[in-house]
């Protein structure tokens, strides 16, 4: 479904991504791991179009997407959440998701039709499945950090994506919240048959739920394989033990 080959991105002199390869098959749950600064977020930004790669190919469902703007990539079926909470703080929780659903329905430009009756069912279904329905009319900015993280995912689901990209969905969460959230994500993947690409620092969680794991180190892909393969790989061990 998604194939990333030899992608590079530098910021000035610094190569943040320096030869990344990644394959995501339909219906898979793929994790990207790597120490801080390995280039995971940069890689995700390249995939979803926030950044343009200097070199390499990103192919999604047979189409090269490396040079098209984020909103076009989203329309092709990739939605994402962000590592740092990135919501619409002054809109209601409902409004946050509704904006995405309306965009998904290609109705963002409709001028003379009241928005409030639109996309209500879909929006409520998403809020319900993520347990945010009770807070639907709260202002998003007033939610707790944990709830804002869930809302991140809810907004991405509003686009009804074929591929969901989650950049550290549990960043800043307590261990309990983390496992609850990952359970939620896994449930979503099964329920909706979603394909999910995510990155995460909690190794226990990653090895428990990911089908395939890609390890990044200093901008490079070390390996992508089944959890078992990754666990036994020496290079990975070294990267994690830190030889700096």
């Amino acid at each position: 479904m998604l194939k990333v080959e030899g992608v590079e991105k530098s910021f000035g002199e610094f190569m943040a991504v320096n030869g990344a390869d990644l394959t995501v098959g339909k219906g898979e749950l793929v994790a990207v791991i790597g120490p801080n600064g390995a280039g995971k977020t940069t890689l995700f930004n390249l995939i979803t179009g926030q950044l343009k790669p200097d070199r390499g190919r990103i192919v999604f469902r047979g189409e090269e997407i490396a040079s098209i703007p984020p909103y076009e990539i989203c329309k092709r079926g990739i939605a994402r959440s962000f590592q740092i909470v990135n919501i619409f703080p002054r809109l209601t929780v409902f409004g946050n998701v509704q904006v995405a659903v309306i965009s998904q329905q290609r109705k963002s430009n409709t001028l003379f039709h009241p928005a409030q009756g639109m996309a209500v069912e879909e929006t409520n279904r998403i809020l319900e499945s993520l347990g945010l329905i009770d807070k639907a009319w709260n202002t998003a900015g007033s939610l707790s950090h944990g709830d804002q993280r869930i809302l991140e995912i809810a907004i991405a689901l509003g686009n009804d994506p074929k591929l969901l990209v989650l950049d550290e969905p549990t960043a800043g969460m307590s261990p309990e919240e983390t496992s609850a959230t990952m359970g939620l994500i896994k449930g979503l993947a099964q329920e909706r048959g979603l394909t999910i690409l995510f990155c995460e620092h909690d190794m226990d969680v990653v090895f428990r739920i990911a089908r395939s794991i890609m390890v990044m180190h200093q901008g490079r892909t070390l390996i992508q394989g089944k959890p078992q393969q990754v666990r036994e790989n020496e290079e990975v061990m070294r990267a994690y033990l830190g030889e700096e």
Binding site: T48, Y71, F88, Q98, H113, G158
Partner: protein, 320 residues
């Protein structure tokens, strides 16, 4: 939760106000009829700016350029051509919107502050053209004694015409705010990056908002000519742009009718205070400073905060 588009409870006071405004002219001295009509025109102008400022989060710093461009277009069509009034009436706002489109095309590519700066320079360019092109625009004299058809010949009939056109424009603006386009615009104001990530072409959306806003600024420009029968370069001078901006701030740009209230206050100030002093821009500066420190949400925002939401005009914070 009673989330209907036309909430009758908030609609009734508006209807009452509209009816009062309808019976006012015969009861008032001419001067006051004129001032109220001027408030309508200026109010519409401020509301049009608020489409891009309050809703779009754009630094539209030279809105008067579009208002003035439309007023001049209308005036020139009426004085230099034999085209019927209604053509000028439609063409002038369209000219404003086209200028808005062209200037907007450049501006939406820039980050917020540069957007504002480029607008000031391009808008000032239009002002300079109008100011210099003496034999066409009348230069700093402007154009006076613009002929109006019989049905707009008296102040009272102009008043009614302006009231009705303004009411229609406000209703349309309200519908736009409540539409998916409007709610998406709010989302863009809140977080443009996230909007791109949910599939919204942010620049195109902002550009469309600018075109709509400049069109309604153009409508206000036309109404100004109907009321005043003259145009002059001050209509597109940056000081007026600053005034419109302050009207939005003053009234409260997170509320629907706030900018209108701000416009009414500013028109009163200019009429009753401005005539006693040459330092109008100084007064503007002082108002701005007082606002920033004491009424960051504007007068309407302050009233809503104090008296809850039964004050006319539904709250526009977020999609409520």
């Amino acid at each position: 939760m009673g989330r209907t588009i036309l909430n009758w409870k908030s609609f009734l006071p508006l209807l009452a106000i509209f009816l009062i405004l309808l019976i006012l002219p015969p009861l008032l001295p001419r001067f006051y009829t004129y001032i109220i009509a001027l408030m309508f025109v200026t109010g519409l102008l401020a509301m049009s700016l608020n489409i891009v400022v309050g809703h779009g989060g754009l630094f539209q710093f030279h809105h008067a350029a579009f208002y003035g461009a439309s007023a001049y277009t209308f005036a020139l069509i009426l004085t230099k051509t034999s085209l019927p009034l209604w053509i000028g009436f439609i063409a002038a706002p369209i000219v404003a919107a086209v200028i808005g489109l062209v200037i907007g095309l450049f501006c939406v590519r820039l980050t917020r502050l540069y957007f504002g700066m480029l607008q000031i320079s391009l808008g000032s360019l239009i002002w300079a053209i109008v100011f210099r092109w003496y034999h066409f625009t009348g230069g700093d004299d402007g154009i006076h004694g613009i002929p109006m058809p019989p049905f707009l010949s008296s102040l009272t009939s102009s008043y009614y015409f302006i009231l009705i056109v303004m009411a229609i424009c406000l209703a349309v603006i309200y519908l736009i705010f409540k539409s998916p386009f409007g709610t998406t615009l709010l989302a863009i104001r809140d977080n443009p990056q996230r909007c791109e990530a949910v599939g919204i072409n942010v620049r195109r959306h902002q550009l469309a908002a600018i075109v709509i806003a400049t069109f309604f600024a153009g409508m206000a420009g036309v109404l100004f000519v109907v009321l005043e029968r003259s145009v002059f370069p001050d209509l597109l001078f940056w000081v007026l742009s600053l005034e419109i901006f302050i009207m939005c701030l003053l009234g409260g740009w997170f509320t629907f009718l706030g900018p209108f209230l701000g416009a009414a206050i500013m028109v009163s100030l200019r009429t009753f205070v401005g005539i006693y002093t040459e330092y109008w821009t100084l007064i503007l500066g002082i108002i701005l400073i007082l606002l920033i420190f004491f009424l960051p949400e504007g007068v309407m925002g302050f009233l809503l905060e104090k008296f809850g939401s039964q004050v006319a005009g539904p709250r526009e914070r977020g999609i409520e």
